[in-house]
């Protein structure tokens, strides 16, 4: 491809991307639609982690657990009370955000390695709680969720696909606006230099907790959609490895970049899917990707276009 073609592609990448997403389930078989839906759901998680770690500078090693809270909230409410999907999306988001608020309160006083350890502990605790709290979470056997029924003119998995991407695009757009807003600037100032942030009037604990709340809200919505897509939640689905995958995803994709979250989600979904026959192979591949990207592309794959058209 010539240089101008690349430029043209970059210019129209968003409409191209959207129309591709729209046509995709209509022409490809259901398995691929499922994989794409999974990418969409992991994209909620990488986006969520990227807002927290990449924009606000608060590292979380327990993001799978936050996703688990959204997923379990949905599973329990859907099974016990039969609340419809469209209501469960905001409910799961809000409930997860409330939990995120209470995680954020102590975490806003910590930094660096301490924060990483605290969130990691949280990441280990939640699956254990789900395992032991039989009466609510179903323990070892997990919870099965009835697939939702939509209007009927497309098959349900296709409708769910569209729903996932509708919400994903909404959240990507909101995050894009967020980063460019006053709040986003405050987040970035906290990430890069807390002394500057504080002396310029940024209330550090408030914005750190806000970062947690926004991030966990998105993760909760993703978790909700996950439980409907997979139709089943169990404690083993939200282990520590998944949290690490999310982190690898945003580092390989691009810390603090929205397109980086998308690229990261594609990697962390496809690598395990393509190597599903081999135990531990996905971990090895993703680990190698992480190292390679840290050495050669510390700003992630999303930074490649900016290397081409570096302004000055």
């Amino acid at each position: 491809m010539s240089y101008t073609m690349i430029e043209k592609f970059l210019k129209f990448r968003v409409p191209l991307f959207l129309s591709f997403l729209f046509i995709f389930p209509l022409i490809f078989p259901s398995y691929y639609t499922y994989v794409f839906s999974l990418i969409g759901i992991y994209c909620f998680q990488t986006l969520s982690l990227n807002i927290l770690a990449g924009i606000t500078g608060q590292l979380s090693l327990g993001h799978a657990a936050i996703m688990a809270i959204g997923a379990y909230t949905t599973a329990i409410l859907s099974n016990k009370f039969g609340i419809p999907l469209l209501l469960l999306i905001p409910i799961s988001g809000l409930f997860t955000a409330i939990i995120g608020f209470f995680i954020g309160l102590p975490c806003s006083r910590m930094g660096g390695i301490y924060l990483a350890i605290a969130t990691m502990a949280f990441g280990f605790a939640v699956p254990e709680i789900c395992l032991k709290w039989d009466s609510v979470t179903g323990g070892y056997s997990g919870l099965r969720i009835k697939q939702p029924h939509f209007f009927g003119f497309v098959e349900d998995y296709i409708a769910l696909y569209y729903l996932i991407f509708l919400f994903l695009i909404l959240f990507l757009w909101i995050s894009h606006n967020l980063i460019a807003s006053k709040t986003g600037r405050a987040f970035i100032s906290i990430r890069d230099n807390e002394v500057v942030a504080e002396s310029m009037g940024v209330n550090l604990p408030f914005y750190k907790v806000l970062g947690f709340v926004i991030s966990t809200f998105i993760a909760g919505v993703g978790g909700c959609l996950y439980s409907f897509l997979v139709g089943f939640v169990s404690p083993y689905d939200f282990n520590f490895w998944l949290s690490i995958y999310f982190l690898i995803g945003i580092v390989v994709g691009g810390m603090g970049s929205i397109s980086g979250s998308i690229i990261g989600a594609i990697f962390i979904t496809l690598v395990p899917q393509l190597t599903s026959g081999y135990k531990h192979l996905p971990q090895m591949i993703l680990g190698a990707l992480l190292i390679v990207s840290l050495i050669f592309l510390p700003k992630g794959l999303a930074a490649i276009p900016s290397l081409f058209n570096k302004k000055r």
Binding site: I174, A180, S181, R185, A186, V195, M200, G201, V202
Partner: protein
């Protein structure tokens, strides 16, 4: 009118008294220089004024308001902005964004408005960006506004810090070594700039400086400290003749 009033300010670090019973009253519109040998406690005084340090005892008032009842992030809202000795900027983002950070406490943009991209929020943001650009133009660095801040030369970065403090419409600016590492000509430019800003924005300037000659030529009032104690306070001429000052700088 006394704008900044400091009485018996004392701050010690584990037994080392960094600032010892420091008194000061700053008239509105003055350019005050604070000088002293290395480790005399100059920056510590700044950090106490901006509430980065909790002080041991003393009183700090700004326009009659007790600063001690405010948190560090609230100081800028009262009208006190500062720059830092070692440049403290967000190096990964463009200059204009760095300047806008200084506007944080004064931007009234609604959170939900901005994330859903409403018209009012966009117009509001544009208004703030325009103000930031105006300030960059006043400082003569507007051509750098879209550059990545960390890539710029040292002198420009110093100016960006000043621009960032100006956007908060301060009444008092604390400049921590604004001319550190600059050539004589650059210092001249900074001196002219600071005087001009004082007149244009009706500011008071309180600056820490190392370069005694620069301060002598430029400040209207000079405060000299050594080992955390104030040893002289007055016009450049008075300070120059003060035996204590000569002793501190040259020795017996």
């Amino acid at each position: 009118m006394t704008q900044l009033y400091v009485e018996n300010l004392t701050k010690s670090f584990e037994g080392l008294v960094a600032v010892d019973s420091f008194n000061l009253s700053l008239e509105k519109g003055t350019i005050l220089g604070l000088i002293g040998p290395n480790g005399a406690g100059k920056t510590t005084i700044f950090n106490c004024l901006t509430r980065f340090y909790d002080i041991d005892s003393g009183k700090i008032q700004f326009e009659g308001i007790d600063l001690l009842s405010f948190k560090p992030y609230q100081i800028i809202q009262l009208g006190i902005a500062r720059t830092f000795q070692n440049i403290e900027l967000l190096k990964e983002i463009p200059v204009i964004q760095n300047v806008l950070i200084g506007n944080h406490a004064f931007s009234d943009i609604n959170f939900f408005g901005s994330i859903f991209g409403t018209r009012t929020a966009k117009l509001n943001e544009k208004k703030h960006i325009k103000r930031a650009q105006d300030i960059l133009r006043k400082l003569g660095i507007s051509e750098w506004s879209e550059f990545n801040t960390g890539d710029l030369p040292y002198g420009i970065q110093k100016m960006v810090e000043i621009a960032r403090s100006l956007i908060s419409k301060p009444k008092l600016i604390l400049l921590d070594e604004p001319t550190a590492g600059m050539t004589a000509i650059e210092k001249e430019t900074i001196a002219e700039l600071i005087t001009r800003l004082r007149d244009d924005f009706e500011l008071s300037i309180f600056m820490v400086e190392h370069d005694v000659n620069f301060v002598m030529n430029f400040c209207e009032r000079i405060c000299v400290i050594n080992y955390g104690r104030k040893i002289a306070d007055g016009t450049p001429d008075e300070v120059r003749k003060d035996p204590e000052v000569i002793k501190a700088y040259i020795g017996d």
